[in-house]
């Protein structure tokens, strides 16, 4: 536990602050609104640090903390406060309000789309900018929020990019005709599977979706789901998962000896996580996924990876930690240009954002009128030797794609 929460060791100061805050709440006194005009920038980071989403939430926090450390070394000091909404989206608003009360003039969050929108309501009311680290629901930038800046792709964009990447790897000997979609039935799963359904058939890939199987987000046992997929006889299995269900699906596929031509997760977390590759071992290999990913060819990325492996030797740098890192980069950049910690100034600076040198794949970080970064790159990843590697597009590929996948029984 303590290893995961480095803040535990040196946090007497925060404990004191907490004591003050809770005393204030308890006695219903009236804490004065703190909004400093100068000095360090207070940043509030909203993440699911407990509850069902805590796994990616903690990965995001690590990336964020690493960035804070690295920027501090460059002289950009950010005073970061983390707030947990316990994986309950409806808490997003209250948590955001608490951070704003504590004097944060810019917020980062909230990993989950629902919590992001909930927090955005508070940010909108207080006119405090919200930099979205991870959150793929299109609605985040479609609800008319003026304070939202999203450095992440909406799920339909990821799926559309994925189609392009997937088309590129089709070749004689690997031409799946049918696909079955297995998706988690939550906000993200529903949005993504909807996009897959809408985009695949008209993409000209020649792949017909024969079944869409949705399972509960809290499902503990996917044997029937996998049996159903197997019974569909599809050439391609397209799981849209979180990490646990990805494990369950592959484990069941092995048990049921179901060998499709490929497993490809469009916009799906899971297979690139260390938990997945550790748990599945050799069975993790050959799994394909298209998600936003870091660009390992950049010098900055190499530096970050280097620092990461020192700070968290047991963890893998992936998209959550990557976007966690970049969210701080975006904020630090805006702070430097605004030369102010006032929300309005930061907001103005964020609108002018143009960051060429960053770590995630894709073009420079900019925000359009709706606050969306349209330049996020979506590579194709494949698990090879229990590590995710970029296999597409060709110009960014680190390794050749291995297809069709090796039968379970023939894996050494």
């Amino acid at each position: 536990m303590t290893g995961k929460h480095p803040s535990l060791r040196s946090d007497r100061r925060r404990l004191m602050k907490w004591a003050g805050a809770s005393a204030a709440l308890g006695s219903l006194s009236f804490p004065a609104l703190v909004r400093a005009q100068s000095g360090p920038l207070k940043v509030g980071v909203i993440l699911p640090l407990s509850g069902v989403l805590s796994f990616p939430g903690i990965a995001t926090r690590r990336g964020t903390e690493l960035a804070v450390k690295m920027f501090a070394e460059q002289g950009v000091t950010l005073d970061v406060t983390y707030a947990d909404y316990e994986s309950k989206p409806e808490n997003g608003r209250v948590v955001a309000e608490r951070l704003i009360r504590d004097g944060c003039t810019i917020l980062i969050g909230a990993w989950d789309s629902g919590a992001t929108i909930s927090a955005a309501q508070a940010c909108e009311a207080a006119k405090v900018p919200l930099v979205v680290n991870v959150g793929s629901a299109r609605q985040i930038t479609e609800q008319g929020f003026t304070q939202v800046f999203r450095n992440f792709s909406p799920s339909d964009d990821i799926v559309a990019h994925g189609v392009q990447r997937f088309k590129e790897i089709l070749r004689p000997g690997f031409e799946p005709k049918t696909a079955v979609v297995l998706h988690v039935n939550d906000t993200f799963g529903q949005a993504t599977s909807g996009a897959v359904k809408a985009l695949w058939e008209k993409s000209g890939m020649g792949i017909r979706i024969v079944d869409m199987i949705s399972y509960d987000a809290r499902a503990r046992d996917l044997s029937v789901e996998v049996a159903k997929a197997k019974a569909s006889g599809a050439d391609l299995v397209a799981p849209i998962t979180r990490v646990n269900d990805a494990i369950l699906i592959v484990r069941e596929m092995v048990k049921q000896d179901y060998n499709p031509m490929a497993i490809y997760g469009p916009s799906s977390p899971g297979p690139y996580e260390k938990a997945f590759t550790d748990a599945m071992g050799k069975y993790a290999n050959d799994y394909l996924v298209s998600v936003p990913w870091y660009d390992a060819s950049r010098a900055l990325t190499k530096r970050v990876l280097d620092r990461w492996s020192k700070a968290y030797p047991d963890g893998r740098f992936e998209l959550n930690s990557g976007f966690g890192w970049e969210s701080i980069q975006v904020v630090a950049d805006a702070f430097q240009r605004a030369k102010s910690n006032r929300s309005a100034d930061l907001h103005e600076a964020l609108r002018q954002t143009h960051i060429n040198d960053h770590i995630m794949a894709g073009g420079p970080i900019v925000f359009d009128g709706k606050g969306q970064n349209p330049n996020i790159g979506i590579p194709l990843l494949q698990v090879q030797n229990q590590e995710p590697v970029v296999v597409g597009p060709k110009d960014a590929a680190q390794a050749a794609v291995k297809l069709p996948m090796t039968r379970w029984s023939e894996r050494a």
């Binding site: 983390y82 608003r93 309000e97 704003i100 955005a120 309501q121 207080a126």
Partner: protein, 372 residues
């Protein structure tokens, strides 16, 4: 005016003046307290006064939240009307469940499980219903610059605070009026002993339905507010089992079957929850909040199983004096604990235990209590 009314007035006035010096955060936190109190009052009408245990109030809450939000967002219906429709929808569903349960004599634990079953059923339906957004959720648009809170019923923390304060005051007044009316007396009779009450001419079926409908409707209104304030709705977060449990903890801690209990309970439980969460976060220990919250909950129920309000009321002297006929002052000189602030030790238990028992067990139970 009785001391209770004065106390209520002072309390409301203090809350009304509070925003003059409080931060948005404190107001938002208090708004959550008000919502919890509102649901607590609604739940208490059903459980505390009419004696029907519901563990599925999230259903009414969620239906209310979705009704108001969808009407406003998709059809442009002002929440002023939406709240009315939400009340009707919540009441209608509650009536359905109540009618089914009471008609088939589903009592005690079984009735409670029936309410859970309906709530979970409702949640799963909402999760698969694309019209309401399914698990993808339903979102309200950000407020435009031209938004008029009094029309859209959406606004900043301060507006929400006052809106809920007014709603809560109204709901409290309503619950007082109903509970002090003939209906309230008859509800309590049903709660204490339904058979005996029926023998005294109390139309138990109709009155239980009334309690359930009123409770469901008020809960739906609380849900409606919660949806307008939060802006994003998910079946799991507005219809989930967890919510049903959270709802009933406050009135139980505050004192079931009392008029102030649910409010007191909300003022204890919500900050307690918030505080334990902050403590857990400050300490960086996941789950510490649950541990603290759970221990405190058990401690409260072990120390004060009747809840906090009866205890406080006795100490503050805020107990009800039963009105008396002129010329009988002497007799009524003894102030007694407010008749609405005490709960029979046995109610609920008896009804829960009768179903599914062989005659011998039932007989054992009853004669156990008989005083020979």
């Amino acid at each position: 005016m009785s001391r209770q009314w004065w106390a209520a007035l002072v309390f409301v006035a203090a809350l009304a003046l509070l925003p003059l010096g409080a931060s948005d955060y404190l107001l938002s936190a208090l708004t959550l307290v008000f919502i919890a109190a509102l649901v607590g009052i609604a739940w208490n009408l059903m459980m505390g006064f009419a004696g029907q245990l519901s563990l599925g109030h999230a259903l009414y809450f969620g239906v209310g939240a979705y009704t108001v939000a969808i009407l406003a967002e998709r059809y442009g219906v002002t929440p002023w009307i939406g709240m009315g429709i939400a009340f009707a929808a919540g009441a209608a569903i509650a009536l359905l469940i109540g009618a089914l349960g009471f008609r088939f004599a589903v009592r005690g634990v079984y009735f409670a499980l029936l309410t859970i079953a309906f709530a979970e059923f409702g949640r799963i339906v909402f999760e698969h219903w694309s019209f309401v957004g399914g698990t993808g959720g339903f979102y309200l648009k950000a407020l435009s610059a031209t938004n008029v809170p009094l029309i859209s019923l959406r606004g900043g923390a301060r507006f929400n605070y006052y809106a809920l304060l007014v709603t809560l005051t109204f709901a409290w007044w309503l619950s007082v009026a109903v509970v002090r009316s003939a209906i309230g007396y008859r509800w309590r009779a049903i709660r204490d002993d339904e058979d005996a009450a029926r023998a005294l001419g109390v139309p138990a079926f109709r009155l239980k339905l009334l309690a359930v409908a009123l409770s469901g409707g008020l809960t739906a209104i609380a849900g409606g507010w919660s949806g307008l304030i939060g802006g994003s709705l998910f079946p799991d977060s507005v219809l989930g089992m967890r919510l049903s449990i959270d709802f009933i903890v406050a009135p139980i801690v505050g004192g079931i079957g009392t008029l102030f209990g649910p409010i007191l309970g909300a003022f204890i439980v919500v900050p307690l929850n918030e505080w334990s969460r902050e403590l857990a976060q400050a300490a960086g220990i996941n789950g510490l909040n649950l541990l603290i919250y759970g221990v405190l909950l058990m401690a409260v129920i072990i120390v004060a199983p009747q809840g906090g309000w009866p205890w406080i009321a006795r100490r503050l002297g805020l107990v009800e004096r039963v009105p008396c006929r002129p010329g009988e002052q002497a007799r009524n000189g003894v102030a007694i604990a407010a008749s609405d602030s005490t709960t029979g030790d046995t109610h609920g238990q008896t009804s829960g235990r009768t179903q599914g028992q062989t005659p011998s067990r039932a007989q054992g139970q009853t004669s156990d209590r008989a005083t020979q």
